[in-house]
């Protein structure tokens, strides 16, 4: 499970040239519905460097999924400018710069687990033997080797979600977009997948935009935690996370580390506090 990035169709140079994986300037999104206009996002400024791990966190309805969908070119912003690896989201999508895992697994019920994981490879013309090699690696990674021939309806929700994660990783994308991918997992699998994800990202130097509702998860995974606030959805604060990490990624001890708890507290305050309360930050680090 240590394949270099260069096995994807994209030469690393293609995105090494562009300094930033994602660059949003004043991005807004207004949905026009029958009931009226809904401002899902307003004036979002965010720059995500190549290889950087950014977690989006915030209360329900603050536009996290919407921001992810804009980056993925599944929706278009109504204002502002958004680029992905220096090009329009559309061009980035067509160049298959990113892998995506949605809130729901979204597996094709008529495909076996293995065939579901191989779908992106198949769509992009990877040969049968290449697909088998890659899907075998990924099956092992998500711990579903014995279930390769099963069909989605024979799996639990958490197992389905793991298949979806494996699928998003299939092409070793330079940008990973993940919308609460671990939400359906049990705590143990969740922690294992988190550790794996950190390792994969360190190895493949992929940038990640990771939506989550869990503060510890955001802190454990991310280089920066983007805290969002609702109505209208906007970025309230960006909390940089400086945890001591080694080249192999963050190990399990980190979860009990004091700096970890300090970071958790900072994110929690940013999430709950408004401006003036935040001034008192640092007073109570439990």
């Amino acid at each position: 499970m240590s394949t270099p990035v260069s096995t994807t169709g994209l030469p690393p140079a293609a995105f090494a040239l562009a300094a930033h994986a994602v660059e949003a300037t004043g991005v807004g999104k207004v949905f026009t519905t029958r009931a009226g206009a809904v401002t899902a996002l307003e004036d979002v400024h965010l720059t995500i460097g190549a290889g950087e791990f950014v977690a989006l966190i915030g209360p329900s309805g603050c536009g996290k999924s919407t921001l992810l969908r804009l980056i993925a070119d599944l929706d278009t912003p109504t204002s502002g400018e958004l680029t992905v690896f220096g090009r329009s989201p559309r061009a980035a999508r067509e160049a298959q710069d990113y892998g995506i895992a949605f809130q729901q697994a979204g597996l094709l019920p008529w495909r076996s687990v293995r065939a579901n994981i191989e779908l992106p490879l198949e769509l992009h013309g990877v040969g049968r033997s290449g697909r088998t090699v890659r899907s075998t690696e990924l099956l092992e990674l998500v711990g579903l080797t014995e279930f390769a021939g099963h069909f989605p309806h024979q799996l639990s929700g958490g197992m389905q979600q793991r298949v979806a994660i494996a699928r998003s990783l299939a092409e070793q994308p330079s940008l990973l977009l993940m919308d609460e991918p671990f939400g359906a997992l049990d705590e143990m699998t969740r922690e294992r997948m988190q550790t794996e994800l950190v390792r994969i990202c360190a190895e493949s130097r992929a940038a990640v935009v990771f939506v989550t509702h869990s503060i510890p998860e955001a802190v454990f995974l991310a280089d920066r935690v983007v805290v969002m606030s609702p109505r209208p959805g906007r970025i309230a604060e960006v909390v940089p996370i400086t945890l001591t990490r080694d080249a192999a990624g963050r190990d399990e001890d980190l979860r009990e580390d004091a700096t970890f708890f300090a970071a958790v507290t900072r994110v929690r305050e940013a999430l709950h506090g408004d401006g003036h309360v935040r001034a008192a930050r640092g007073v109570d680090v439990r």
Partner: protein, 300 residues
């Protein structure tokens, strides 16, 4: 890996069991029929002068065994006349082939229409009402027109034959369920799946082949079966209204004329027509045997 024997068993046991249930249902229908001839009023049931129940005497409702016996007896008193059953089977074979041709044409047309309507929203709103409207035109009115047009067609060596008109009319009935079912099926993938393919920058053709087509299977299979039944009905009605010889439609008319002196004879033809519909639908079910994995309900 999924154990292979299990899947094989699931593939074969279910159709066999359905066949057994079908046979049992046929026997039950025969038993009810007999029970009615036994217990029903010979003069029929009347309420305020309107006749509600059929007359239970042998002329209106011959015994099941009489019908069977009539089938085995010669068709007419002429020497060398085939038995009713043989004549019936020959006629069924003729009609089945014509209906099959009509079914095929209808499936191609219906699926083509569905693809067009799925692909282009405008086409859907423009074409769909006409698709529905097409089925309100009575077949009887259509038949002579088709025969008339057919008579004028001559492309090279191809001469328009009478059975082609019949097949065309059958296809006119058969395309409808296919168009409706396939359209629903092609539109059935959920938003998340469509977006998955969009995120992969899959071409419309790829999305069709790998997503919409497999997702449409649970909708298309019943539509194909329905189309087979309507193609048979269409072929029979078209045979009658175009005066085409050789098929079961013609046989029904001919035998019906003998009803007064030979009451079991028309029933033999009717049984034949019913069997024909079953066989046609059964043939389509065979088509779906290999498609089991596309047919369990959507999960995830």
């Amino acid at each position: 890996m999924t154990p292979a024997p299990e899947r094989v068993r699931r593939g074969w046991v279910r159709p066999l069991r359905r066949l057994a249930v079908g046979v049992l249902a046929g026997l039950a229908a025969a038993a009810i029929w007999e029970l009615y001839t036994l217990l029903g009023p010979d003069a029929g049931g009347h309420l305020f002068g309107a006749s509600l129940l059929p007359r239970a005497e042998a002329r209106s409702m011959p015994h099941v065994w009489d019908v069977v016996a009539r089938m085995l007896a010669p068709e007419s008193s002429a020497t060398g006349a085939p038995s009713v059953a043989v004549a019936m089977l020959q006629a069924c074979w003729f009609t089945l082939r014509v209906a099959l041709a009509g079914w095929l044409a209808g499936v191609v047309a219906g699926f083509g229409l569905a693809i067009g309507m799925q692909r282009f929203r405008l086409a859907e709103s423009a074409v769909f009402p006409w698709v529905v409207l097409s089925q309100t035109v009575p077949l009887i009115a259509l038949a002579p027109l088709v025969v008339g047009w057919g008579g004028k067609i001559q492309v090279g060596d191809l001469v328009w034959e009478r059975w082609m008109s019949v097949a065309l009319i059958a296809s006119y009935l058969a395309f409808f369920p296919v168009a409706v079912g396939a359209l629903r099926g092609l539109q059935s993938p959920e938003q998340a799946h469509v977006e998955l393919f969009r995120a992969q920058a899959a071409s419309p053709w790829r999305t069709f082949r790998s997503l919409r087509l497999p997702a449409s299977v649970p909708y298309v299979i019943p539509a194909l079966r329905l189309a087979a039944a309507t193609a048979v009905v269409g072929a029979i009605v078209a045979e009658v209204s175009t005066g085409t010889k050789g098929g079961i439609g013609r046989l029904i008319i001919a035998y019906a004329q003998a009803a007064s002196g030979d009451p079991a004879k028309p029933w033999a033809a009717i049984v034949g027509a019913a069997l024909l519909g079953l066989v046609a639908a059964g043939l389509v079910s065979l088509l779906s045997l290999g498609l089991g994995r596309y047919r369990h309900s959507e999960v995830s």
